[in-house]
Amino acid sequence: MSILSIQGLTKRYGRITAVDGLSLEVEQGMSFGILGPNGSGKTTALGAVLGIVHPDAGQYQWFGGRYGQDHRRHIGALLETPNFYPYLNAVENLEIVAHIRRAQSPKIGELLEMVNLHHRRKSPFRTYSLGMKQRLAIAAAMVGGPEVLIFDEPTNGLDPQGIAEVRQTLKDIAGMGKTIIMASHILDEVEKACSHVAIIKNGKLLATGTVGAIISDDVVVETGAENLAALREAFSAFPPVRRAEEQNGRLLLYLSEEVPPSTINRLAFEKGVVLSHLRVVKKSLESEFLAITSREI
Protein backbone atom coordinates (compact mmCIF):
# COMPACT_ATOMS: atom_id res chain seq x y z
CA MET A 1 0.00 0.00 0.00
CA SER A 2 1.28 3.44 -0.88
CA ILE A 3 2.19 5.60 2.08
CA LEU A 4 3.63 8.57 0.27
CA SER A 5 3.68 9.32 -3.40
CA ILE A 6 5.48 12.40 -4.72
CA GLN A 7 5.38 13.53 -8.34
CA GLY A 8 7.51 16.27 -9.81
CA LEU A 9 7.82 18.25 -6.59
CA THR A 10 9.58 21.58 -7.19
CA LYS A 11 10.37 24.40 -4.81
CA ARG A 12 12.27 27.55 -5.73
CA TYR A 13 13.64 30.22 -3.43
CA GLY A 14 14.40 33.10 -5.75
CA ARG A 15 17.01 31.86 -8.20
CA ILE A 16 17.80 28.77 -6.19
CA THR A 17 15.85 25.63 -6.93
CA ALA A 18 15.85 23.74 -3.63
CA VAL A 19 13.80 20.80 -4.88
CA ASP A 20 13.74 20.07 -8.59
CA GLY A 21 11.10 17.76 -10.02
CA LEU A 22 11.43 15.18 -7.27
CA SER A 23 9.37 12.00 -7.56
CA LEU A 24 9.34 9.27 -4.93
CA GLU A 25 7.22 6.34 -3.82
CA VAL A 26 7.22 5.08 -0.26
CA GLU A 27 5.35 1.86 0.48
CA GLN A 28 4.03 0.60 3.77
CA GLY A 29 6.59 -1.00 6.05
CA MET A 30 9.62 0.48 4.30
CA SER A 31 12.45 2.14 6.14
CA PHE A 32 13.08 4.78 3.55
CA GLY A 33 16.27 6.78 3.68
CA ILE A 34 16.66 10.08 1.89
CA LEU A 35 20.35 10.59 1.49
CA GLY A 36 22.03 13.71 0.30
CA PRO A 37 24.69 16.23 1.23
CA ASN A 38 23.82 19.27 3.33
CA GLY A 39 21.67 21.69 1.38
CA SER A 40 20.50 19.09 -1.11
CA GLY A 41 16.82 19.82 -0.48
CA LYS A 42 15.95 16.99 1.90
CA THR A 43 14.33 19.17 4.55
CA THR A 44 12.57 21.36 1.97
CA ALA A 45 11.09 18.27 0.33
CA LEU A 46 9.89 16.91 3.68
CA GLY A 47 8.59 20.36 4.65
CA ALA A 48 6.55 20.42 1.45
CA VAL A 49 4.90 17.05 2.04
CA LEU A 50 4.22 18.07 5.65
CA GLY A 51 2.38 21.20 4.60
CA ILE A 52 4.73 23.86 5.93
CA VAL A 53 6.36 24.75 2.59
CA HIS A 54 4.27 25.58 -0.46
CA PRO A 55 5.70 23.79 -3.51
CA ASP A 56 5.89 25.69 -6.79
CA ALA A 57 4.97 22.62 -8.78
CA GLY A 58 4.20 18.95 -8.36
CA GLN A 59 1.86 16.89 -6.23
CA TYR A 60 2.06 14.56 -3.30
CA GLN A 61 -0.42 12.21 -1.73
CA TRP A 62 -0.35 10.56 1.67
CA PHE A 63 -1.87 7.15 2.42
CA GLY A 64 -3.37 6.96 -1.08
CA GLY A 65 -5.71 9.78 -0.10
CA ARG A 66 -7.31 7.71 2.68
CA TYR A 67 -7.34 10.52 5.24
CA GLY A 68 -7.93 13.44 2.89
CA GLN A 69 -6.49 16.69 4.21
CA ASP A 70 -6.28 15.29 7.73
CA HIS A 71 -3.28 13.04 6.97
CA ARG A 72 -0.76 14.85 9.18
CA ARG A 73 -2.37 13.54 12.35
CA HIS A 74 -1.25 10.06 11.23
CA ILE A 75 2.35 11.07 10.70
CA GLY A 76 4.91 11.64 13.43
CA ALA A 77 7.62 13.98 12.29
CA LEU A 78 10.80 15.45 13.66
CA LEU A 79 11.98 18.07 11.20
CA GLU A 80 15.40 19.60 11.86
CA THR A 81 15.31 20.92 15.41
CA PRO A 82 13.01 19.80 18.23
CA ASN A 83 10.37 22.53 18.69
CA PHE A 84 8.55 22.76 21.99
CA TYR A 85 7.20 25.35 24.41
CA PRO A 86 10.27 26.08 26.58
CA TYR A 87 8.24 27.06 29.64
CA LEU A 88 6.29 23.78 29.66
CA ASN A 89 7.64 20.48 30.92
CA ALA A 90 7.89 17.24 28.95
CA VAL A 91 4.46 15.96 29.97
CA GLU A 92 2.70 19.25 29.18
CA ASN A 93 4.43 19.50 25.83
CA LEU A 94 3.43 15.96 24.89
CA GLU A 95 -0.12 16.66 26.05
CA ILE A 96 -0.31 19.46 23.49
CA VAL A 97 0.85 17.05 20.78
CA ALA A 98 -1.71 14.48 21.95
CA HIS A 99 -4.43 17.12 21.93
CA ILE A 100 -3.63 18.21 18.37
CA ARG A 101 -3.63 14.57 17.20
CA ARG A 102 -6.82 13.86 19.17
CA ALA A 103 -5.02 10.83 20.62
CA GLN A 104 -7.39 8.90 22.84
CA SER A 105 -4.90 7.33 25.24
CA PRO A 106 -1.56 8.91 24.49
CA LYS A 107 0.47 6.80 26.99
CA ILE A 108 2.76 9.73 27.65
CA GLY A 109 4.44 8.04 30.62
CA GLU A 110 5.39 5.00 28.56
CA LEU A 111 6.78 7.13 25.75
CA LEU A 112 8.91 9.11 28.18
CA GLU A 113 10.21 5.85 29.62
CA MET A 114 11.07 4.68 26.11
CA VAL A 115 13.22 7.73 25.41
CA ASN A 116 14.65 7.68 28.91
CA LEU A 117 13.21 11.01 30.04
CA HIS A 118 10.74 9.84 32.64
CA HIS A 119 12.86 11.07 35.54
CA ARG A 120 12.94 14.57 34.04
CA ARG A 121 9.31 14.72 32.94
CA LYS A 122 8.50 17.62 35.29
CA SER A 123 11.42 19.84 34.25
CA PRO A 124 10.75 22.68 31.82
CA PHE A 125 11.86 21.94 28.26
CA ARG A 126 14.32 24.86 28.30
CA THR A 127 16.44 23.08 30.94
CA TYR A 128 17.06 20.05 28.69
CA SER A 129 20.31 19.20 26.97
CA LEU A 130 20.31 18.91 23.19
CA GLY A 131 20.22 15.11 23.39
CA MET A 132 17.24 15.20 25.74
CA LYS A 133 15.41 17.64 23.48
CA GLN A 134 16.01 15.36 20.53
CA ARG A 135 14.72 12.36 22.47
CA LEU A 136 11.64 14.27 23.56
CA ALA A 137 11.02 15.11 19.91
CA ILE A 138 11.17 11.40 19.07
CA ALA A 139 8.66 10.70 21.85
CA ALA A 140 6.45 13.51 20.50
CA ALA A 141 6.56 11.98 17.03
CA MET A 142 5.33 8.70 18.54
CA VAL A 143 2.37 10.19 20.42
CA GLY A 144 -0.89 8.62 19.32
CA GLY A 145 0.86 5.78 17.48
CA PRO A 146 1.15 7.34 14.00
CA GLU A 147 1.52 4.99 11.03
CA VAL A 148 4.50 6.81 9.58
CA LEU A 149 7.47 8.41 11.26
CA ILE A 150 9.66 11.02 9.64
CA PHE A 151 13.05 11.82 11.07
CA ASP A 152 15.18 14.53 9.57
CA GLU A 153 18.83 14.34 10.63
CA PRO A 154 17.84 12.68 13.92
CA THR A 155 21.38 12.55 15.27
CA ASN A 156 22.50 16.00 14.14
CA GLY A 157 24.54 17.84 16.74
CA LEU A 158 24.52 15.03 19.29
CA ASP A 159 27.55 13.67 21.10
CA PRO A 160 28.53 10.02 20.51
CA GLN A 161 26.48 8.80 23.44
CA GLY A 162 23.46 10.77 22.28
CA ILE A 163 23.87 9.38 18.77
CA ALA A 164 24.02 5.84 20.12
CA GLU A 165 20.88 6.40 22.20
CA VAL A 166 18.90 7.91 19.37
CA ARG A 167 19.96 5.15 16.96
CA GLN A 168 18.91 2.51 19.45
CA THR A 169 15.53 4.21 19.84
CA LEU A 170 15.10 4.34 16.05
CA LYS A 171 15.96 0.67 15.80
CA ASP A 172 13.33 -0.13 18.44
CA ILE A 173 10.75 1.86 16.51
CA ALA A 174 11.62 0.14 13.23
CA GLY A 175 11.18 -3.14 15.08
CA MET A 176 7.55 -2.20 15.73
CA GLY A 177 6.86 -2.46 12.00
CA LYS A 178 6.22 1.24 11.38
CA THR A 179 7.00 2.93 8.10
CA ILE A 180 9.97 5.21 8.62
CA ILE A 181 11.21 7.98 6.38
CA MET A 182 14.60 9.25 7.41
CA ALA A 183 16.62 12.04 5.86
CA SER A 184 20.31 12.11 6.56
CA HIS A 185 23.64 13.08 5.16
CA ILE A 186 25.28 10.31 7.15
CA LEU A 187 25.61 7.24 4.95
CA ASP A 188 26.32 4.88 7.73
CA GLU A 189 23.08 5.83 9.43
CA VAL A 190 20.99 5.17 6.32
CA GLU A 191 22.88 2.01 5.43
CA LYS A 192 22.25 0.55 8.88
CA ALA A 193 18.68 1.67 9.45
CA CYS A 194 17.04 1.67 6.03
CA SER A 195 15.71 -0.91 3.61
CA HIS A 196 15.29 1.59 0.76
CA VAL A 197 17.18 4.69 -0.18
CA ALA A 198 16.83 7.70 -2.43
CA ILE A 199 19.91 9.76 -3.14
CA ILE A 200 19.33 13.42 -3.91
CA LYS A 201 21.61 16.31 -4.74
CA ASN A 202 20.73 19.90 -5.62
CA GLY A 203 17.09 18.93 -5.23
CA LYS A 204 17.26 16.26 -7.93
CA LEU A 205 16.73 12.56 -7.47
CA LEU A 206 19.90 10.74 -8.53
CA ALA A 207 19.07 7.18 -7.63
CA THR A 208 16.45 5.23 -5.74
CA GLY A 209 15.88 1.60 -4.86
CA THR A 210 16.59 -0.94 -2.18
CA VAL A 211 19.77 -0.37 -0.25
CA GLY A 212 20.95 -3.70 -1.68
CA ALA A 213 20.38 -2.55 -5.25
CA ILE A 214 22.01 0.81 -4.78
CA ILE A 215 24.97 -0.76 -3.10
CA SER A 216 25.97 -3.07 -5.91
CA ASP A 217 27.03 -6.52 -4.81
CA ASP A 218 30.14 -6.19 -6.93
CA VAL A 219 33.40 -7.07 -5.37
CA VAL A 220 36.00 -4.58 -6.41
CA VAL A 221 39.61 -5.45 -6.78
CA GLU A 222 42.11 -2.68 -7.06
CA THR A 223 45.09 -3.61 -9.20
CA GLY A 224 48.15 -1.78 -10.34
CA ALA A 225 50.93 -2.38 -12.86
CA GLU A 226 53.41 -0.38 -14.84
CA ASN A 227 51.41 -0.87 -18.01
CA LEU A 228 47.73 -0.38 -17.15
CA ALA A 229 46.63 -0.90 -20.78
CA ALA A 230 48.26 -4.31 -20.82
CA LEU A 231 46.68 -5.10 -17.47
CA ARG A 232 43.24 -4.15 -18.76
CA GLU A 233 43.86 -6.31 -21.83
CA ALA A 234 44.87 -9.22 -19.60
CA PHE A 235 41.50 -9.23 -17.82
CA SER A 236 39.32 -8.46 -20.84
CA ALA A 237 38.46 -12.10 -21.34
CA PHE A 238 38.12 -13.06 -17.70
CA PRO A 239 34.39 -13.83 -17.18
CA PRO A 240 33.88 -12.58 -13.58
CA VAL A 241 35.07 -9.11 -14.59
CA ARG A 242 32.01 -7.09 -15.52
CA ARG A 243 33.69 -3.77 -15.86
CA ALA A 244 37.18 -2.32 -15.54
CA GLU A 245 37.88 1.29 -14.88
CA GLU A 246 41.07 3.29 -14.45
CA GLN A 247 41.27 5.54 -11.46
CA ASN A 248 44.28 7.39 -10.03
CA GLY A 249 46.78 5.15 -11.80
CA ARG A 250 45.04 2.00 -10.64
CA LEU A 251 42.77 -0.37 -12.47
CA LEU A 252 39.52 -1.19 -10.66
CA LEU A 253 38.01 -4.55 -11.56
CA TYR A 254 34.33 -5.03 -10.78
CA LEU A 255 33.77 -8.74 -10.24
CA SER A 256 30.41 -10.40 -10.20
CA GLU A 257 31.66 -13.01 -7.74
CA GLU A 258 34.45 -13.32 -5.26
CA VAL A 259 37.71 -14.48 -6.77
CA PRO A 260 40.77 -15.28 -4.63
CA PRO A 261 43.50 -12.65 -5.08
CA SER A 262 45.96 -15.39 -5.98
CA THR A 263 43.87 -16.27 -9.05
CA ILE A 264 44.01 -12.69 -10.23
CA ASN A 265 47.70 -12.50 -9.58
CA ARG A 266 48.36 -15.73 -11.49
CA LEU A 267 46.18 -14.69 -14.42
CA ALA A 268 48.02 -11.40 -14.79
CA PHE A 269 51.40 -13.11 -14.56
CA GLU A 270 50.38 -15.67 -17.21
CA LYS A 271 49.54 -12.77 -19.54
CA GLY A 272 52.96 -11.29 -18.90
CA VAL A 273 51.95 -8.48 -16.58
CA VAL A 274 53.49 -8.16 -13.14
CA LEU A 275 51.18 -6.66 -10.53
CA SER A 276 52.58 -3.86 -8.41
CA HIS A 277 49.38 -3.52 -6.40
CA LEU A 278 46.53 -5.81 -5.43
CA ARG A 279 43.77 -5.05 -2.95
CA VAL A 280 40.26 -6.42 -2.50
CA VAL A 281 37.71 -3.71 -1.73
CA LYS A 282 34.12 -4.24 -0.69
CA LYS A 283 32.20 -1.48 -2.32
CA SER A 284 30.24 0.45 0.25
CA LEU A 285 27.32 2.81 0.02
CA GLU A 286 29.79 5.56 0.72
CA SER A 287 31.76 5.11 -2.47
CA GLU A 288 28.53 4.61 -4.40
CA PHE A 289 27.17 7.77 -2.85
CA LEU A 290 30.26 9.74 -3.69
CA ALA A 291 30.32 8.30 -7.18
CA ILE A 292 26.66 9.17 -7.75
CA THR A 293 26.74 12.63 -6.24
CA SER A 294 29.98 13.64 -7.94
CA ARG A 295 28.55 12.99 -11.40
CA GLU A 296 27.79 16.09 -13.38
CA ILE A 297 24.14 16.93 -13.47
Binding site: Y85, E92, I96, I100
Partner: protein, 268 residues
Protein backbone atom coordinates in the same frame (compact mmCIF):
# COMPACT_ATOMS: atom_id res chain seq x y z
CA UNK B 1 -14.07 25.58 18.63
CA UNK B 2 -13.71 24.05 22.07
CA UNK B 3 -10.94 21.80 20.73
CA UNK B 4 -8.92 24.83 19.60
CA UNK B 5 -9.69 26.88 22.71
CA UNK B 6 -8.52 24.04 24.94
CA UNK B 7 -5.33 23.77 22.92
CA UNK B 8 -4.63 27.49 23.24
CA UNK B 9 -5.38 27.33 26.95
CA UNK B 10 -2.78 24.58 27.39
CA UNK B 11 -0.23 26.86 25.72
CA UNK B 12 -1.19 30.10 27.42
CA UNK B 13 -2.00 29.29 31.01
CA UNK B 14 1.65 28.73 31.95
CA UNK B 15 3.00 31.58 29.83
CA UNK B 16 4.41 34.14 32.25
CA UNK B 17 3.34 37.15 30.15
CA UNK B 18 -0.23 35.85 30.01
CA UNK B 19 -0.50 35.48 33.79
CA UNK B 20 1.11 38.85 34.46
CA UNK B 21 -1.05 40.73 31.96
CA UNK B 22 -4.25 39.17 33.24
CA UNK B 23 -3.30 39.87 36.86
CA UNK B 24 -2.44 43.49 36.07
CA UNK B 25 -5.70 44.01 34.22
CA UNK B 26 -7.80 42.50 36.98
CA UNK B 27 -6.04 44.55 39.64
CA UNK B 28 -5.67 47.86 37.81
CA UNK B 29 -9.09 48.28 36.20
CA UNK B 30 -10.99 49.04 39.43
CA UNK B 31 -7.95 50.43 41.27
CA UNK B 32 -7.14 53.20 38.80
CA UNK B 33 -10.73 54.45 38.79
CA UNK B 34 -10.95 54.27 42.56
CA UNK B 35 -7.77 56.33 42.80
CA UNK B 36 -10.05 59.13 41.68
CA UNK B 37 -11.38 59.15 45.25
CA UNK B 38 -8.07 60.70 46.21
CA UNK B 39 -8.81 63.74 44.09
CA UNK B 40 -11.32 65.82 46.07
CA UNK B 41 -11.88 68.48 43.42
CA UNK B 42 -11.69 68.37 39.66
CA UNK B 43 -11.27 71.26 37.27
CA UNK B 44 -14.39 72.54 35.52
CA UNK B 45 -16.59 71.43 33.91
CA UNK B 46 -16.54 68.37 36.18
CA UNK B 47 -16.09 70.11 39.55
CA UNK B 48 -16.46 66.96 41.63
CA UNK B 49 -15.07 63.46 41.43
CA UNK B 50 -18.50 62.01 42.06
CA UNK B 51 -19.21 61.42 38.36
CA UNK B 52 -16.44 58.85 38.24
CA UNK B 53 -18.32 56.44 40.43
CA UNK B 54 -22.04 56.94 39.99
CA UNK B 55 -24.48 55.63 37.43
CA UNK B 56 -24.62 56.28 34.57
CA UNK B 57 -21.24 58.02 34.09
CA UNK B 58 -19.27 55.23 35.78
CA UNK B 59 -19.68 53.22 32.55
CA UNK B 60 -17.88 55.84 30.50
CA UNK B 61 -15.12 56.56 32.97
CA UNK B 62 -14.33 52.93 33.68
CA UNK B 63 -14.43 52.22 29.94
CA UNK B 64 -11.88 54.98 29.40
CA UNK B 65 -9.57 53.49 32.04
CA UNK B 66 -10.13 50.05 30.53
CA UNK B 67 -9.28 51.24 27.04
CA UNK B 68 -5.76 52.09 28.18
CA UNK B 69 -5.35 48.75 29.94
CA UNK B 70 -6.70 46.78 26.98
CA UNK B 71 -4.47 48.73 24.62
CA UNK B 72 -1.41 47.80 26.66
CA UNK B 73 -2.01 44.40 28.18
CA UNK B 74 -4.29 42.69 25.68
CA UNK B 75 -2.69 44.24 22.62
CA UNK B 76 0.65 42.99 23.94
CA UNK B 77 -0.82 39.62 24.82
CA UNK B 78 -2.20 39.22 21.32
CA UNK B 79 1.22 39.99 19.83
CA UNK B 80 3.21 37.84 22.24
CA UNK B 81 0.95 34.81 21.97
CA UNK B 82 1.56 34.86 18.22
CA UNK B 83 5.21 35.92 17.89
CA UNK B 84 6.52 33.51 20.53
CA UNK B 85 5.12 30.66 18.46
CA UNK B 86 7.31 31.87 15.63
CA UNK B 87 10.42 32.20 17.77
CA UNK B 88 9.88 28.80 19.43
CA UNK B 89 8.98 27.43 15.98
CA UNK B 90 5.97 25.83 17.60
CA UNK B 91 3.57 27.19 14.98
CA UNK B 92 5.44 25.16 12.40
CA UNK B 93 5.45 22.17 14.72
CA UNK B 94 1.70 22.50 15.45
CA UNK B 95 1.02 22.29 11.73
CA UNK B 96 3.41 19.37 11.23
CA UNK B 97 1.71 17.62 14.14
CA UNK B 98 -1.68 17.92 12.49
CA UNK B 99 -3.37 21.33 12.71
CA UNK B 100 -4.39 22.93 9.46
CA UNK B 101 -3.29 26.51 8.91
CA UNK B 102 -6.92 27.56 9.18
CA UNK B 103 -7.29 25.79 12.51
CA UNK B 104 -4.13 27.39 13.79
CA UNK B 105 -5.40 30.83 12.84
CA UNK B 106 -8.87 30.15 14.27
CA UNK B 107 -7.26 29.13 17.57
CA UNK B 108 -5.68 32.56 17.82
CA UNK B 109 -8.91 34.24 16.77
CA UNK B 110 -10.84 32.39 19.49
CA UNK B 111 -8.29 33.52 22.07
CA UNK B 112 -8.81 37.13 20.99
CA UNK B 113 -12.58 36.69 21.16
CA UNK B 114 -12.42 34.85 24.48
CA UNK B 115 -10.13 37.39 26.14
CA UNK B 116 -12.27 40.27 24.83
CA UNK B 117 -15.46 38.71 26.17
CA UNK B 118 -13.98 37.93 29.59
CA UNK B 119 -12.33 41.37 29.86
CA UNK B 120 -15.66 42.97 29.00
CA UNK B 121 -17.54 40.83 31.52
CA UNK B 122 -15.07 41.91 34.19
CA UNK B 123 -15.48 45.54 33.14
CA UNK B 124 -19.27 45.26 33.41
CA UNK B 125 -19.00 43.61 36.80
CA UNK B 126 -16.65 46.30 38.13
CA UNK B 127 -18.81 49.12 36.77
CA UNK B 128 -21.93 47.60 38.34
CA UNK B 129 -20.24 47.13 41.70
CA UNK B 130 -18.60 50.56 41.80
CA UNK B 131 -21.82 52.20 40.67
CA UNK B 132 -23.90 50.23 43.15
CA UNK B 133 -21.80 51.21 46.14
CA UNK B 134 -21.38 54.86 45.18
CA UNK B 135 -24.69 55.95 43.72
CA UNK B 136 -26.87 57.37 46.53
CA UNK B 137 -30.18 56.50 44.91
CA UNK B 138 -30.29 53.77 42.31
CA UNK B 139 -32.80 53.96 39.50
CA UNK B 140 -32.74 51.13 37.00
CA UNK B 141 -33.05 53.43 33.99
CA UNK B 142 -29.96 55.34 35.22
CA UNK B 143 -28.03 52.09 35.66
CA UNK B 144 -28.65 50.97 32.08
CA UNK B 145 -28.57 54.43 30.55
CA UNK B 146 -24.99 54.05 29.31
CA UNK B 147 -24.90 50.27 29.14
CA UNK B 148 -24.23 50.57 25.40
CA UNK B 149 -20.66 51.04 26.60
CA UNK B 150 -20.51 47.26 27.13
CA UNK B 151 -20.62 46.14 23.47
CA UNK B 152 -18.39 49.06 22.53
CA UNK B 153 -15.89 47.98 25.18
CA UNK B 154 -15.92 44.47 23.72
CA UNK B 155 -15.26 45.84 20.26
CA UNK B 156 -12.49 48.12 21.56
CA UNK B 157 -10.64 45.18 23.14
CA UNK B 158 -11.22 43.04 20.05
CA UNK B 159 -9.98 45.87 17.81
CA UNK B 160 -6.69 46.31 19.66
CA UNK B 161 -6.10 42.58 19.76
CA UNK B 162 -6.88 42.17 16.05
CA UNK B 163 -4.37 44.89 15.21
CA UNK B 164 -1.85 43.15 17.49
CA UNK B 165 -2.54 39.84 15.75
CA UNK B 166 -1.91 41.33 12.32
CA UNK B 167 1.40 42.82 13.50
CA UNK B 168 2.32 39.52 15.18
CA UNK B 169 1.71 37.41 12.07
CA UNK B 170 3.31 39.99 9.85
CA UNK B 171 6.46 40.96 11.79
CA UNK B 172 6.96 37.60 13.58
CA UNK B 173 9.50 39.06 16.04
CA UNK B 174 8.21 39.94 19.47
CA UNK B 175 10.32 43.03 20.10
CA UNK B 176 9.81 44.64 16.73
CA UNK B 177 6.09 43.87 16.70
CA UNK B 178 5.61 45.38 20.16
CA UNK B 179 7.58 48.46 19.17
CA UNK B 180 5.58 48.91 15.98
CA UNK B 181 2.31 48.43 17.83
CA UNK B 182 3.16 50.99 20.49
CA UNK B 183 4.61 53.52 18.11
CA UNK B 184 1.79 53.20 15.60
CA UNK B 185 -0.89 53.75 18.20
CA UNK B 186 1.03 56.49 20.02
CA UNK B 187 2.38 58.57 17.16
CA UNK B 188 2.81 56.88 13.77
CA UNK B 189 -0.89 57.23 13.03
CA UNK B 190 -0.75 60.91 13.94
CA UNK B 191 2.22 61.34 11.60
CA UNK B 192 0.39 59.46 8.86
CA UNK B 193 -2.63 61.66 9.40
CA UNK B 194 -0.51 64.74 9.18
CA UNK B 195 1.23 63.40 6.09
CA UNK B 196 -2.10 62.89 4.34
CA UNK B 197 -3.95 65.99 5.48
CA UNK B 198 -0.97 68.23 6.36
CA UNK B 199 -2.79 69.11 9.57
CA UNK B 200 -3.61 67.28 12.78
CA UNK B 201 -7.16 68.53 13.10
CA UNK B 202 -8.94 69.67 10.05
CA UNK B 203 -11.95 67.68 9.14
CA UNK B 204 -14.25 65.02 10.57
CA UNK B 205 -12.92 62.40 8.12
CA UNK B 206 -9.57 62.51 9.92
CA UNK B 207 -11.07 60.56 12.79
CA UNK B 208 -11.60 57.49 10.68
CA UNK B 209 -8.04 56.20 11.02
CA UNK B 210 -8.04 52.74 12.60
CA UNK B 211 -6.58 53.42 16.03
CA UNK B 212 -8.46 56.67 16.34
CA UNK B 213 -11.69 54.85 15.61
CA UNK B 214 -10.92 52.28 18.31
CA UNK B 215 -10.06 55.03 20.79
CA UNK B 216 -13.32 56.81 20.03
CA UNK B 217 -15.32 53.74 21.02
CA UNK B 218 -14.64 54.60 24.65
CA UNK B 219 -13.43 58.21 24.63
CA UNK B 220 -12.56 60.39 27.55
CA UNK B 221 -16.03 61.46 28.62
CA UNK B 222 -15.63 65.22 28.33
CA UNK B 223 -18.92 65.67 26.56
CA UNK B 224 -19.27 69.30 27.48
CA UNK B 225 -15.83 70.07 26.15
CA UNK B 226 -16.59 68.20 22.98
CA UNK B 227 -19.73 70.20 22.47
CA UNK B 228 -17.73 73.38 22.82
CA UNK B 229 -15.33 72.09 20.18
CA UNK B 230 -18.14 71.54 17.73
CA UNK B 231 -19.42 75.11 18.13
CA UNK B 232 -15.91 76.54 17.75
CA UNK B 233 -14.54 74.43 14.90
CA UNK B 234 -17.60 73.09 13.15
CA UNK B 235 -16.78 69.39 13.58
CA UNK B 236 -16.66 67.00 16.49
CA UNK B 237 -13.57 65.96 18.41
CA UNK B 238 -14.74 62.36 18.35
CA UNK B 239 -16.49 59.97 16.04
CA UNK B 240 -20.07 59.28 17.00
CA UNK B 241 -20.46 55.88 18.70
CA UNK B 242 -22.13 54.41 15.62
CA UNK B 243 -19.35 55.67 13.35
CA UNK B 244 -16.69 54.33 15.68
CA UNK B 245 -18.39 50.94 15.88
CA UNK B 246 -18.67 50.57 12.12
CA UNK B 247 -15.13 51.83 11.47
CA UNK B 248 -13.65 49.49 14.11
CA UNK B 249 -15.60 46.51 12.81
CA UNK B 250 -14.41 47.16 9.28
CA UNK B 251 -10.79 47.59 10.37
CA UNK B 252 -10.81 44.53 12.64
CA UNK B 253 -12.18 42.30 9.90
CA UNK B 254 -9.61 43.74 7.51
CA UNK B 255 -6.74 43.14 9.96
CA UNK B 256 -7.83 39.57 10.58
CA UNK B 257 -8.33 38.80 6.88
CA UNK B 258 -4.84 40.13 6.14
CA UNK B 259 -3.42 38.09 9.03
CA UNK B 260 -5.18 34.96 7.73
CA UNK B 261 -3.74 35.56 4.27
CA UNK B 262 -0.26 35.74 5.81
CA UNK B 263 -0.81 32.48 7.71
CA UNK B 264 -2.14 30.76 4.57
CA UNK B 265 0.71 31.81 2.32
CA UNK B 266 3.80 31.70 4.51
CA UNK B 267 6.49 29.06 4.19
CA UNK B 268 7.27 28.16 7.78
Amino acid sequence: MLYLLKLEWKKLNKLAAFRIFIAFYLALLPTILLLGKRIPELPPPLMTNEVLFIFPTVWEWLAYVGSWLCFFFFGFLSIISITTEYSYRTMRQNIITGLSRKQYFLGKLYVILGVSVLATAYYALCALLIGYFNTPAIYWHKVVQNASCIPRYLLMCFGYMSFGALLGFWVKRTGIALFLYLSYVMFLEAILRWGVHLQLWKHHSMHFYPMNAIEDLTPLPFTQMADEFISNYGFSLFLSPAEAVIATLVYSVLFLLLAFRLVKRADL
